[in-house]
């Protein structure tokens, strides 16, 4: 494949569309990491074999699409039949023949494989009718689940690299920058700084070299937005980088990906190679003066390497430690040259903004937070997964409309946003619009887009302890407040969870948090106490309960709870072998008893009891 000019590009687009038209019926198999873990590779093989058996081997490449992540990972492997939009969940290789015969060759629907609405138990056929998908608006995730992730032609078929052609032939670098500023696009990695303004500062600095870096070091526990984008739409990321490079005058770019994302690395490597071979990367791209190369820098998975200055040190082969940024990295970044560092999600938005225009983009979302945002919605909600929603949507809409509400209809307690450095938002603020500024105002943050929903069985002190533990482990250890301060905050939380807390500890934690926030070197230390501070702000009574009453109302902190067997125990004896510590005694059909001195509060009995006879208090 040779793409020397726009004519070549358009020719490939036309060919791809023609092929697609010839085979309107397609089998889309989700090949995101989640579905692969659930066995999607075997489904792909079975579909390929099945097509061969049905004498469709020659066109199997046009029919079978190994797509990126659909976002509904808990129901994988997912198979979609186009054009009917039939959505099959938890597909096993044994189902494939049936799917091909009934749904692919005919128009029949296989009911047992359909999605079951968790609210009313009804079956839903089309994916766009499922509430999880229905309320989403996909810009960054536009190609995920739609095209074969590793096929460059398919990307070109969906207007891929048209934005690149547009900027190279119809726009000056300054016009590109103005367009991005006008779109209102703000950094999706957590900072929320105007992407266009960042480009402008960088471009205006005289230097031998400028660099573009794509930050794919997503390290928040439970977050997989960037991973899915890199896996499912690698060319979208590359095109965004190319446009950024043209705008700021960079000739070299890096994508920093953590090594725990092997599939993302593979897909990006393939995409870069395809671009290099076809001429979309290298010298004189599309016959213009613009030359650009992209290299992959693989990180070892340190949370701190998502911080810009630490990331750049790591790219340069040094120890990933942040530096003081009194001189910003956009002025003095990689190898001390001006550098634009954008998050994966920020960059993947760029081609669409260029193609459809800043006005179109800024009409979505709110005035100060335009466009959409990808979240990984996890925790105690019925539908978990990757979602993209317009900014300004309320937390309630996300949790109840898309997420389908709280599991088992339990009461909602809090939602944690912004990853480990974010904060918890209580029920009273469920109607808060989700945008950069509103979240910051209530003591949380947008972060990279983690969203963890908690019900009444979640202990808020335990949650704060969990995040602090993560941050203590991931602190780079360079500066004292972050290394020692977060460690001491975690120790104080441990003390409170163990029932040994004193009221003075709250004040001690507040003061220490403030000093860590002011005193730390980088953003990670400065925001480190956030999970503690936001829970203290909104759930102080629960802390006081732990300290004064020595009670954990959620039944989580082992030192503060007891397990008892109620009188409605049927004496089924199921809990007796479940207890690993021989703490439960009792005879058949008689109420059992837990010996408190032996009970370790592991919860094993609670899990096996079918009669709600175990009381945790």
């Amino acid at each position: 494949m040779n793409i020397k000019n726009v004519k070549d590009l358009n020719k490939i687009k036309k060919e791809t569309l023609a092929i697609s038209k010839k085979h309107p019926k397609k089998v889309l198999v989700c090949c995101g990491t989640g579905c692969i873990a659930n066995g999607a590779t075997k489904i792909v093989e079975s579909v390929r074999d099945g097509l061969a058996k049905r004498k469709l081997k020659d066109v199997s490449i046009e029919i079978l699409k190994e797509t990126g992540c659909h976002g509904f990972c808990e129901l994988g492997p997912l198979v979609i039949i186009e054009p009917q939009e039939i959505f099959y969940t938890k597909v096993k290789p044994k189902h494939v023949d049936d799917i091909l015969d009934k749904s692919f060759l005919e128009n029949e629907i296989i009911e047992p494989l359909l999605f079951t609405n968790p609210v009313d138990g009804s079956k839903i056929t089309k994916y766009n009718d499922i509430s999880f998908f229905k309320h989403q608006q996909r810009i960054a995730l536009r190609n995920l689940g739609k095209i074969s992730a590793h096929d460059m032609k398919e990307y070109i078929g969906v207007d891929g690299y048209q934005a690149l052609a547009k900027v190279l032939f119809k726009m000056t670098p300054d016009e590109v920058i103005e367009e991005v500023i006008k779109s209102g696009l703000r950094g999706r990695g957590g900072g929320g700084f105007s992407a266009g303004k960042k480009w402008k500062i960088c471009k205006n600095i005289q230097a031998d070299k400028h660099y573009v870096i794509c930050n794919g070091d997503e390290g928040d526990p439970g977050a997989f937005m960037d991973r899915s984008i890199m896996e499912g739409d690698p060319h979208g990321v590359l095109e965004g980088m190319m446009i950024a490079a043209y705008a700021i005058g960079a000739k070299e770019g890096y994508i920093y990906v953590r090594d725990e994302y092997p599939l993302a690395v593979t897909h990006l490597e393939k995409a870069i190679l395809d671009c290099e071979r076809s001429g979309l990367l290298g010298e004189n791209i599309l016959g213009t003066d613009f030359s650009f190369t992209i290299k992959i820098a693989r990180g070892a998975g340190a949370f701190v390497c998502g911080e810009s200055s630490a990331l750049m040190k790591s790219v340069a082969g040094e120890v990933g430690e942040p530096r003081a940024k009194y001189v910003r990295s956009v002025v003095k970044g990689l190898y001390d040259e001006p550098t634009v560092l954008n998050n994966v999600e920020t960059l993947v938005n760029i081609p669409t903004i260029i193609r459809k225009g800043a006005d179109w983009y800024s009409s979505i979302g709110t005035k100060k937070s335009t466009g959409t945002k990808v979240f990984s919605l996890v925790g105690k909600v019925r539908n978990t997964g990757l979602i993209e929603v317009p900014m300004g949507i309320t937390l309630r809409e996300i949790i109840y409309d898309i997420g389908g509400g709280i599991l088992e209809d339990r009461p909602f307690k809090a939602v944690q946003t912004g990853g480990p450095s974010g904060g918890c938002i209580p029920e009273s603020m469920l109607d808060l619009p989700v945008d950069f500024d509103s979240l910051t105002e209530v003591g949380s943050m947008m972060g990279s887009g983690g969203m963890i929903v908690m019900d009444d069985k979640t202990c808020i002190v335990d949650v704060a302890k969990y995040f602090l533990e993560f941050l203590v482990e991931e602190s780079c250890g360079k500066c004292t407040p972050c290394r020692e301060g977060l460690y001491q905050l975690h120790k104080l939380l441990e003390k409170i969870c163990a029932g040994k807390g004193e009221m003075s500890d709250i004040e001690k934690m507040e003061r220490l948090s403030e000093n860590v926030m002011i005193g730390s070197l980088c953003g990670l230390g400065k925001s480190g106490p956030n999970p503690l501070m936001s829970t203290l702000k909104h759930f102080k009574d629960e802390y006081i309960e732990h300290i004064k009453d020595k009670k954990c109302r959620a039944g989580v902190c082992p030192e503060l709870i007891t397990y008892e067997i109620l009188d409605n125990c049927t004496g089924c004896m199921a809990c007796i072998p479940a207890c690993g510590y021989d703490a439960i005694t009792g005879k058949k059909k008689e109420v059992h008893i837990i010996a408190q001195d032996k009970c370790t509060k592991c919860g094993a009995c609670y899990a096996v009891c079918n009669f709600d006879s175990i009381l945790v208090s």
Binding site: V304, A324, G477, R483, I518
Partner: protein
């Protein structure tokens, strides 16, 4: 030259010069644990933080590490603002919890009113405060024999794989500049052991006293164009020789005049 105000006094400074340099030139006492004139500042200990503001900032102020903050015209610096002092004692409190046995930390903490830590003392806390002076000096010397290993609370200074580092020449720059005297070395029987590596010392040809390690002498001789024979004499004997030479010269002068 630019002008900045430190604690109410207007002083001159070079544009872009680090605030700490100006502060120390003015003989104002700001504590540091990770600062060393020979190496690049790192901003790790956070003790040199000061409060800065500018008239046009409308009363807003910032807290920055003076070792890394470049002086700019019109800057107003307060090295001992209330918040700064509180921050310093809090950081020293954290240090004291981690290194309760270090005399240097105890003394500095006491200066800021912290006699006993309010936090949980770290069991088996050692005296390495992770300031990174040793590793930065080693890098500056050109050896790169030791570095920071690991991260967070478990971070430590170590040679690669915790084995005797091949790159170390036994210059002792790390140990001699350690602010808490944590880096151990052993010099006896004409040898030196540091970082588990044994060195042979050069003995003075005059008095027999050991001077520097053979490796370090060879390194300096090779890279700094110093005659290797120079290292075969100790400092004292070099000075004795110099005094003798100077004596002879003045004798000749006297003889020449008379």
């Amino acid at each position: 030259m630019i002008h900045i105000t430190i604690n109410g006094k207007v002083v001159q400074a070079k544009d872009g010069e680090m605030l700490l340099t100006v502060i120390r030139r003015e003989k104002i006492d700001v504590p540091t644990l990770c600062h060393h004139e020979a190496v690049e500042p790192s901003g790790a200990c956070r003790l040199c933080m000061v409060e800065i503001t500018k008239p046009e900032w409308d009363g807003w102020c910032d807290y920055v590490t003076s070792c890394l903050y470049p002086a700019a015209d019109g800057l107003i610096v307060n090295t001992h603002a209330k918040k700064v002092n509180e921050l310093r004692s809090s950081i020293l409190d954290m240090y004291l919890a981690r290194h309760p046995k270090s005399p240097e930390i105890r003394q500095l903490a006491a200066e800021y009113g912290v006699l006993k830590t309010q936090f949980e003392e770290v069991v088996d806390g050692d005296n390495c405060i992770l300031c990174g002076i040793c590793t930065r000096i080693c890098d500056t010397m050109g050896f790169h024999a030791i570095s920071m290993v690991g991260r967070g609370h478990g971070k430590e200074v170590a040679p690669p794989l915790n084995m005797a580092p091949t790159a170390c020449v036994g210059c002792l720059s790390c140990a001699k500049n350690c602010p808490t005297n944590y880096i151990e070395y052993n010099m006896e029987n004409g040898g030196l052991t540091i970082w588990k590596k044994d060195f042979e010392m050069v003995a003075c040809t005059e008095c027999g006293k050991t001077t520097i390690t053979k490796e370090f002498a060879e390194y300096l001789s090779k890279n700094r164009d110093i005659n290797i024979d120079y290292f075969r004499k100790c400092d004292e004997c070099h000075r004795k020789e110099l005094a003798g030479t100077m004596g002879r010269i003045s004798n000749w002068d006297r003889e020449a005049r008379s």
